[in-house]
Symmetry: C2
Subunit: 347 residues, 2 copies
DNA sequence: ATGAAAGCGCTAACAT
DNA sequence: ATGTTAGCGCTTTCAT
């Protein structure tokens, strides 16, 4: 591999000059630049980023930590992050925890050792001690938290208003005439889980419908299987609910699959609503109504925050909220779409 | 940030000794080790990987290049790669092309500049000039190609036998009594696309069914929408096919969605079969029969190849084939499953 | 078994 | 405008 020194020799100039040309330093003459460019081309020289990083203490890498990559949700996440990072000449280092609880704290240290410039992280499922570690690290490099904010700390965030989002979802059902609405809750130990439940509750109360404990069941997980199992409790209530809302799409889909197995028609006998609008919501039958979260835009903004922080343009933690949108499909409104809607899968 | 020099000073030893302790060098006395360990703990020292990389010329990073991350297929891919790389103390640098054709060649150079130790790549959709670049780079570091092999080059590969896989899929349909079987082809400019078509053809011929050009339509893309549109041509054939096979799941699902819109019952009036067994195949109604590809195992093997190559244990390119498995579900066999099958989504 | 010292490839003062 | 030089933090001969 050719080095900068080789280039300098071939061009008959000093290494410092080559470096200046490489970095577009203002005071380089045209003639010097052309000599160096020529030598670079002839030698097919490429700078060694590791050596540069050692000097400049910046690596042009950003660590991206997710609890798992086995979630369709992160498909969009990776796409946005990859693209946005490329625009600022950075590359993502992927740290996928796969719910392996001993990993995060090691990773946090590794991130420091590797000298990444920033960190974008989804702390879903993290324990407090790891969060504390995150606060510590955020003093040393920009950290953006995804879908969870830590007010009063130096951790930035891109977030959505889950309570408002779920409120809108339930409003939609109420507008369609439902008054007995079951709720498949999850993540109640988390703000996001609580917010969704609160959104459900406030929507009911705003319409003068009394909140009924019996219509809420804690699924304890966000997985399809939990929705499938727990919806069975809701069906035993009397009068039976005419609509079911899931704290996320997977729970709603699990519920749908159970209703289907019982030959209950959706939405005629019972309507189902999801939350998050994952791509697969258009692929189940009937297509699932849901609440869309602008994941792609959020990732781009997260990268932008890192970039600004690195440029010293951020003097305090910023927490940005993104809007949600209710997407009405067949599972709550039989006449919603006559035509097949192509999902957001690329293939 | 503390450095190795700080540790040496505090422990009252030389930097070389600290380095030896850090790297588990054989000739270190117990007393030296304990002195150094103590200093490390007291200073909360962490080695600087960048500096180490500059010296050792190894970065403990592996570049992972995919054509797009917006594909449910890569969910499993990332999971396997992440986990396996972690086992060998490496971290993936994610290069997601997002079908941006000018990116790959730049990325190939960047990979070199960043000094990554290896490269795992899905060359789906790549032009020959970029492939050539890949061959060149494979002389300098281990490269493993995913689902595409390059015999006679130094590029390793993990691959599946698409022809055999598709052959088995069509055999399954024939065994169920089908003789007029439509094929939604795609990627015919690629070996993988050709192989799948050939598998279809050879299965027919082995059962004495004449291959009929009219029952094959080139979808020109692997996307749901193409399946939805192109299946319409197959339905116009006379006699109408009693089964449809997609070159991948998305095409099959697109076809299903069209059949559904025409109120054709699956599988009674027409059976549908996919290929790749993506997670969503269990979530559509009816559940889609498909051919499973061991993506997870393949990624782990890919990482293992990188590891072995790095250790100098691979003296020539290895190309490993993985087996496929026909997964029978409702879309080809009404009695396949009574119970709901939980998919492979984590939530 | 431990230490001294060179150097990986680059950048950034500082000097000219 | 260009060259000289020190040094980023670490590993690795080579001495001792």
């Amino acid at each position: 591999m050719k080095t900068l020194k080789d280039v300098a020799q071939r061009a008959g100039v000093s290494t410092g000059s080559v470096s200046k040309v490489l970095n577009g330093h203002p005071s380089v003459s045209e003639v010097l630049k052309s000599k160096v460019d020529k030598a670079i081309a002839e030698l097919n020289y490429r700078p060694n980023m590791v050596a540069r990083s050692l000097r400049t203490k910046t690596t042009n890498t950003v660590a991206v930590m997710v609890p798992t990559s086995n979630d369709p949700y992160f498909v969009e996440f990776f796409r946005g992050v990859s693209l946005a990072l490329r625009d600022i000449q950075c590359v993502p280092m992927l740290y996928s925890m796969e719910f392996n609880t001993d990993i995060p704290v090691n990773v946090i240290h590794e991130v420091l050792m590797r000298g990444v410039d920033g960190l974008i992280v989804s702390t879903y499922g993290w324990e407090q001690d790891i969060i504390d570690e995150l606060f510590r690290i955020s003093e040393r490099l920009p950290v953006v938290s995804f879908k969870r904010s830590f007010p009063g700390t130096s951790v930035h965030s891109v977030n959505i208003d889950d309570q408002a989002g779920m409120n809108k979802a339930v409003q939609h059902l109420i507008k369609n005439g439902h008054r007995r609405i079951g709720f498949l809750a999850a993540g109640l130990d988390l703000k996001t889980g609580q917010d969704r439940l609160n959104g459900y509750r406030t929507a009911l109360e705003a319409s003068g419908i009394e909140f009924d404990d019996n219509l809420v069941v804690d699924c304890e997980s966000f997985q399809i299987e939990a929705g499938y199992n727990k919806v069975q409790q809701l069906l035993k209530r009397y009068p039976r609910p005419t609509a079911i809302v899931g704290a996320n799409d997977a729970l709603a889909i699990g519920a749908m699959k159970y209703l289907e197995s019982r030959n209950l028609r959706i939405p005629e006998e019972i309507a189902v609503m999801g939350y998050d609008d994952e791509p697969l919501s258009t692929l189940v039958t009937p297509k699932l109504s849901s609440v869309a979260v602008p994941v792609y835009e959020m990732t781009r903004r997260a990268v932008q925050m890192i970039d600004k922080a690195l440029k010293g343009e951020l003097h305090q933690a910023v927490n940005e909220m993104f809007p949600t949108e209710v997407i009405v499909r067949d599972s709550t409104d039989f006449s919603a779409h006559a035509e097949f809607e192509f999902g957001r899968f690329s293939r």
